[in-house]
Structures are given as structure tokens and as C-alpha cells.
Symmetry: C2
Amino acid sequence: MQNFVIRTHYCGELSRHDIGTRVIVYGWVHKMRDLGGILFSHVRDVSGICQVVFNPGVSKAVHEAASALRSEYVVKIEGSVRERPEGNDNPLLTTGDVEVVADSVEVLNSAQTPPFSISEDSKVSEHARFEFRYLDLRRPAMQEKILFRSKVISAMRRYLEDHRFHELETPILTRSTPEGARDFLVPSRMTPGHFYALPQSPQLFKQIFMVAGFDRYFQICRCFRDEDLRADRQPEFTQLDMELSFTPPKELFRIVNGLMSYLAQSVVPLMSVPESIPVMTYRDAMERFGSDKPDLRFAMELRDVTEVVEGTEYGIFRDVVAGGGRVKALAVPGAGASFSRKEIDDVGERAKQLGAKGLGWARRDDKKYNTPLLKLLGEATLDRIYEKAGAGKDDLVLLMADKWKPAATVLGTLRLELGRKLGLIPEGLFALTWVTEFPWLEWSEEDKRPVACHHPFTKPMMEDLERFKETPLEIRAQAYDLVLNGTEIGGGSVRIHQPDLQEKMFEYLQIPKEEAREKFGFLIDAFKYGAPPHCGIALGVDRLVTLFLGESSIREVIPFPKTQRGVCLMTGAPGTVSERQLREVSLKTRVE
Amino acid sequence: MQNFVIRTHYCGELSRHDIGTRVIVYGWVHKMRDLGGILFSHVRDVSGICQVVFNPGVSKAVHEAASALRSEYVVKIEGSVRERPEGNDNPLLTTGDVEVVADSVEVLNSAQTPPFSISEDSKVSEHARFEFRYLDLRRPAMQEKILFRSKVISAMRRYLEDHRFHELETPILTRSTPEGARDFLVPSRMTPGHFYALPQSPQLFKQIFMVAGFDRYFQICRCFRDEDLRADRQPEFTQLDMELSFTPPKELFRIVNGLMSYLAQSVVPLMSVPESIPVMTYRDAMERFGSDKPDLRFAMELRDVTEVVEGTEYGIFRDVVAGGGRVKALAVPGAGASFSRKEIDDVGERAKQLGAKGLGWARRDDKKYNTPLLKLLGEATLDRIYEKAGAGKDDLVLLMADKWKPAATVLGTLRLELGRKLGLIPEGLFALTWVTEFPWLEWSEEDKRPVACHHPFTKPMMEDLERFKETPLEIRAQAYDLVLNGTEIGGGSVRIHQPDLQEKMFEYLQIPKEEAREKFGFLIDAFKYGAPPHCGIALGVDRLVTLFLGESSIREVIPFPKTQRGVCLMTGAPGTVSERQLREVSLKTRVE
């Protein structure tokens, strides 16, 4: 069988320690230069790059062989390591103070000229990068990202195994459960007309593991959702899935907090994680930041000025307040002084796009208010609004009157956009927060019935449940999200573990008894044989790695991503299949 | 949110060190006994079982509450640990010298009477075990197996990460490649009439990782094959997939050898792994053991006696030898003395079932041969056959004349079956071997063309390739299997990395150019941009764990297995889907 000599060193690991050593390295020709008849080659492998010198004075034959080398040729180099001549150090390479003087070179494979440069971070279209992913992944920056991802996942495993978790596998071929997003289907050949579904998450199986007594489960697992791919989604994604029995959520918070600290220590040195990640309720997050995934890298909190304007004559505010709505204020630092009138009008336009009927604003020149609201509210009220909003003299104050949620949401979006525009969001900062007590149910206009905000296995706050008849949508769930820099990176809940409450939940959701039985019967049955109290969480690995790297798309950290149309440009998946294959699974296409 | 006290101890970890300590434990009531008015409960969690005492003398209320406990109730117990009274130790429990005197008990969930006992290894049908898998998995023996599996996988990862491997993810939604078994298909909604396929292995992607320069890849990954499920297959299975660049296979062997040693040290204490696992060629394995996956736990080697009988007058032997066939012998230890004539005839019958035209046999009483062959071959020839076969006076000698391969295969199967019958295969022994130099191509009667024995990316022995025109089926591949106790637990090969050789391979296999282009074009393209020499292997995790445990079925080590019809009896997968779901993926069923 193939019998070649094992390398003695990786290219990127040569250093002064190796001076005088004979080495054998393998790799790709990164670039070639001819300087006065001496050839210099950068040879690249997974570890990095080293310089190789082909000097006709050392070996005429080797120099000649080297002159045939082109970019991306695969080579085996033998030679000796020496210190680079004075002044020739390359501080950009970790191996920049040494070089290999080659006395043997062997071409293991040649290479066509690649469609884009491997050696530089040249601008290449995403289409080309996906089609030639094997070349795109060869670029050192891409390799680093993919290897970083691998290290993050490895660290997650290490931490959880050190905390009595066991990684347990759940099936990929499972059954379709219609609560949630659309399933990918897999036709069964042996049971014609029946289908497996790919899991949207191992939710039911991990709860079954708890019923089976496994106590602490985790899994780095692939999940699938056949959704229209918005900006940054993939049809398959990786999640860190966890579930624990006999454990209060505050203990789960402590464990996840520890996990994030461990990741910071071991693989994300720029991140600092507080000993205790802040916890805020959903209601608080909405009131203060206008978002259920607040970005805490900067302040700019929303304030409620309803009571300040309660008595006002100004019709819009008065009517909103009388109708149970709120008036919320946002102070935009410095924008009062710096924004042109057009920029202020643009903010108002943006608010309308976001669904606002209107947006009030105020600013001050010297000591005089400069706002249409001056006439309507008067100076004293504006003083109090400024005070309440924590606005300084140069700030722009935005005011929004509506039901509490749209009022908060619109200002929350403006907060983010203006924060970005004004450069208030520091780069390289990692701000984590827990958001808790999410609503349990929400009204689905599409289905004309309440649906679970999280999923139908989430436990409500039991003290709220009494109010089910009157205000079902105000029941809080024992559900929580972990948020990093304004992105939800994980979500979980305390689960229902009592069979009767679970059945009641399906009733609340108006899922017909037979359907609930058909889809979830085994879970309810399982609960009848002694289910422990349990809770869990799932963290999005793609998202997390993307944020850790400061990248803007998960496609940068997935080796083989698909386009927004779900296509793999490298392999051409999805492809056509033969009539025989369709017949075997008892299917016909509707496509002409 | 749910706010209960964190446990102080796991049940199975209480020991003499804890005597006098107040503890809080959670778990399931494993069993209850009433001894003279005092209640004793075994409480079970993931770690094991402890005894809890409810003494009306300690608390009448608690004793009363405890009297309502039934098997599998979920409880929280508070109390103090004490030494068990003299003579009450239970050596069967790790916690058997202590007990918890309860002063508080809380029922967290009640339980119906389970359909089979959790506490004993009672005989239960596999159907019931699969349907109530959450109860089956609750049985301590099952939990141990599943947790053992988790530990094996974790150890694999640790070892490989310590050897410069990175775990890298490959897609589950990929494209159908028809070389190999049948694919599971996933209809695409966004590209009507097109399908993803679930991967039979990440073969192409891991080779692409090598082309992309990742150097050492591994992945614990799920693979899928839509085959008729024979005895012990599952539609989805887990494999340890590896690939290395710039590495000769002997180095890969060393790494896998090291991995097996590491598993032995860290999780399979009963296994001993030699410093160098024996290597034999396919041809040797067939000649000596009549199998390409020889069970080396016992000797009983096949011998070739062709030259002994070459000159014989006996027609059958003479004709087979003249036709280029072989006569192979197997000495069955002691069976000459111990087998009845009927037992010998049964062996002959079995050989016929296996495809033999006939089976010769010989035994000796005292010094006289007792065999129909005596007349045909004569005593001197039988003496030489006995000598050559290494047969002792009490042994039964079996003789088989045919082409070398069927002659070897039939005797190889008899060797295994008789070895088992005679108790020659020691339990608890682990015998590993490499088998190398498999054939490259084999003739497919179905397709009327040569197909790849391993897969179409395997490199041939280059010195054999010259003989392609004359004897294509005699070309050896640079392919290897790892065999444990007569079961193939892994297979791999050196891959083709030259685009021209890969295209030639598709020609040899008579795959039309357009089809090869359509299915594998991206791989050939990738090779054109500088592919490194690479090789790899995949180990079957389910199989390996099963063998480590001495179990007979992979269903024992998979948390949620499917039946031979591909059905999950717990969830009911595969299930029906709605007309809307079918319409969304542009499909109709052919089922009436």
C-alpha cells in the first residue's frame, strides 16, 4: 500500500528551536517568488505557512524542479531549517524568523489555477465561494473559523461531561409533529404512504430521557426546519440541547452561566462573562429595551412617561392613555444637537414603517424647546418628560403613544438602529442576559386559537393559571431565553411533568383530543408512569459561534451551507431522482 | 418559577462517609417492604439505589405518607444517613451498608403500575420493551448500557482530539448518489420535483475536507440506509468517521490501534489490545479462516491439502484439482472421538446448505481410519492429510474440494459453527485483526458490470493496475477492514486523489460519463485544484459498543431503535401526513 514517509513537522510550527534540524513537511504552494535566481515558496498546511528556499547553489536539480511549481500544487519538501538572513524576517508569519532550505521537492499533485485567490482575502461573490467551497475553505481565515467552531463544540462537551451530563443520541428519522414550523418529510418505503419527519428539535425524546431516569442529558444535535429561509437561516442547524431532572431553573442558569464562563476561558478569550448573568423578566425587557432580546451593550433605556402626560390636553396622548395605552420615551444621546431636521423626520418615517401611527420628538436649543409638542404640552410637562427620560440637553427625545407593547417595540427597534448609527454599540463586547417569564400563550390570527409561545410542553406559572378564563394571554410561562448582544442564543423552559396538566394544555390550545392522542399520546402515557420534574434549554451553536467571531452570518461558520433557496451549490443538492426511486417509496410528483 | 431545593446527594453515592449527614435525595420508588410496621423503600436515581426507612417512631406523619407510596412514584426524601443495623447490610447495593432515616417525604408524581417490572430483569417481549421504551430504559441494566455507549463515544473524541483531529460537521440534507445502498429521500419544497438524500456516509464531504486542507478530520455522525433490515441493522446508525491527509495507512493503523488501546484503558477494562494489532491480507484471511472477517479468538485454521491429493485416483478430488480448484481441510478438535455418525452427517448436510456439492470427512478409531475416504485415498494419503491438517487422533477432519473461494468459505462457516458448538470460542476475549488488500472490483450479476468492492473512491494497488485488461477482478485495493471477534467493525481505504485516475475508475465501473459528471463532478473538479494524498476509515459505533458489552444486538445499545419494518413502536413513526403537507412538496402518493 501507499508508503510514504511521515512528516516530521507541520509547516506552521517551525521555529527557532528547529534551526539545524532536517525536516519533512507536506502542504500546498501558497505563493512563489523568484528573487535573483533563488526561488522562495510559501508552503501552507492546516497549521500555517513556512518559507522554503530553493537555491541552485544547494541543488541545481531541486531548483529546477521547484521552478515548475505553481500556486496550490501539493508538495513534499525535505530540507534543513535555518535562521533567516538578517533583515529578512517576516513578522506576519508565526514561522517568520526561519526558513527551510530544500534539498528535495516532490510534486504529489498539480493544480489548475483556482477561480479566486487562496492567499488573499480578495472579494469573492458568495456564489463562487459556495460553488468552490473546497477552495474557499482552504483560505486560512475560513479554516480558522471552522476549526474555532470545532473547538467551541468540544469545550461545550467537556464542560457538560464534567457536570454529570451524558451525551445521548436521539433519532433523526422520527415522526411529524405539527406544532411548530414545517417538517422535512422522508417517505417510508416499507410502509407505503407513511412518512418519517426530520426533528425540529429532540424535545419529546429528551423529555422521554428524563422520564426514563437519565437525569442530565445533553446532545450536540442537528435540527431541521423547512422554512422560507429568511436572512440568516439554514434548513439544518446545530444545537446544544440540554435537559435536567430534579433541578430548579436557577440551577440550570448557574450551569449555563458556568458553561459560558468556561467557553470564555478556554476558547473565546475576548469574552468576559459575569459570575452571575443578569436576569430580567420579559415584561421588564420590553419596558426598558422594547425587545424580548435586549442588547445590553449600551444603555439608552426606554422610560414610561404616561403619568407625566396623563392630564394633558393633547388629544392623541389623552386618548391613548384613556384607552389603557402608554406613552413611552427614548432619549437619544446627542442627537438633539447633531441631527438635522431631515434626520429627525427620517426617524419618524421609520417609526411609521414599523407600524407607529406617529412619533413625537423634542429637542432643546439652549434652554428653549424646539418641538411641535411645546405648544401641545407646555414647557413644564416637557421638563418633566426630559427628567423622567433621563435626557440631557443635547439629547433627542422620542415619544410614542400606543398600547404598551407596540409602543415599546417601535422604540426598541429605533433604539437599536439609532444606537448603531450613533456608534453607541461597542465592538468586541459581549453582553449576556437572561429573559424570563415569557407569556405562555399567544393568539394566532392564522389559526384563530391560542398557540404556545414556546412549545406546548412548557409549564405555566402555576399562580397565574387561575386567571385562565379571564386573561389567558396574560399567563406567564416558566420559560426563559439566553440573549447575547441582542440575539437570542438559547431558549428553554420548565416542562409540564403531570399528565393531567399536559392534557389540559392541549385543551387550552384547542388541539382535538384524538389529534393530541395521535401525536403526543406516548408522552402523556410516559408521564403516567412517574415523570420527574424537569427543565431544559437549547442553545443555537451556529449563532453562538457566529457571535463569538463577530461575524454577521452563520454561513461563515458552517462548512457546507445552503443558499436561501436551500441549494448546495457545490454538490447540486437537491437533485432529481429516478422514476424507480420514486416508485419504491410509492410516490409521484405533481411536477409536469 | 419552580423553586425546589437542590439535592444534596445522589442515591447511589451514599456511603459510610455520609453517616450522620442530613441529606435530600430525589428518585423513583424502586420497591417497598413493610417489616413489622417499619417501611423500607429502595429509592433509585441515575446513580443507583439507596434504602430509605420510614419509622413511625421517628415521624408518624411521614410513616403514614410513606404507606401511600407505590412502585415508580417520584419522591423527594429528606432524612439522615445512618449505618445499617448489624446483619442488615445488603452487599448487592453499593450503598448497602447505610440507610436514610426519612423525616420528610414528598410525592412529586404518582405512577400507574408499569406493564413490566422495572426492578427485575424479567423476560419481556421486545415489542413491549420498544413500545414502553421510557420504562425499559429505566431499568438499571439498560441505563448502564446507554451510559456506557455515551462514555465510549466521549473517549473516542478525547483520544482523537489529543491526536490533532478536529470534529467537523457535514450536511444531513445532501444529494442522492446511487453507488451503494438505497438512499432515504427528502422532497424539496422550494425546488419542486427535486430531492435531498440522507447521507449513507459523509464520504464525499470528508474527502472534500482533505482537499480543503483540514488534514485530520473526524466525526461521530449519523448515517442512513434504506435497506431491508436484516437481522441486526437499523435504518439510521452512528459511525466514527475519520480521514487523514499526507499519512500512510500504516500510520492510520497505529492511530486506530492507539484508539482501541485507549478505549480498553478508559472504558472497556476487560479488553486487552496488543501494541500492534495483527495484519493479514484478505487472501490470507480467506485461506486460513475461510472468512474476510476471521474470528481469532480460537485457532482451528483451514489447511490446504491440494498437493497431498493431487495424484489421487479419486475422481472428485482429481477433477477439482485439474480444473484449478483446491482441496481444503479443517481439523475439528475432539469431534472425531465425540461426534456420533449422525452429527457428522449433519455437518455434511449443513455444508450442502452452504452450497457445497459434498463434504469429505475422516476420523480414526485407535489406529484405523474410519471413513469412506479410506478406500478412495488409501491410508498413506490420509496420514499425510492428517499431518498437513494438524489433526490429532481424536479430531474430525473435514475436506472440501472446489474453487478456492467457495471451498474456503464453506469450511470457514463450519469452523465458526463447530467452534461455537464445541465451546472453543472463549467468552470475554477480544481478538482484533486488520484485513488488508481486499479485491478492488467484483462482478455484479445484477448490473452485468464490475462494481467497486469498497467504493469507487478507493485506490487500487498501483502495481496491479497494469493487469486490468486481463484480470480486472484480481486487482487488489488499498482497502482494509478492522475485525473484532469475527465482526467487521470498521473499513476504510487509501483514496484516489488524482483526477485522471478517478475518471478512469468511473470508466472501469462503466458509469456513463454524464452520470459520473452529474453525481461526482464536484469531487473530480476539486481534485483538479490540488488534492493531497489521503486515506480514512469509518468504525461502526453501534456494533462496537454491542461487542464491548458482549450483547448480541445493536438494539440493546440504541436508545430508540426501530423494528425490522423500520417502525418506532413508541412514537409510531413513520406516520401519515396531511394532504397539505404533501401538496407543499409537490407529491402525491400512489397508495389508494
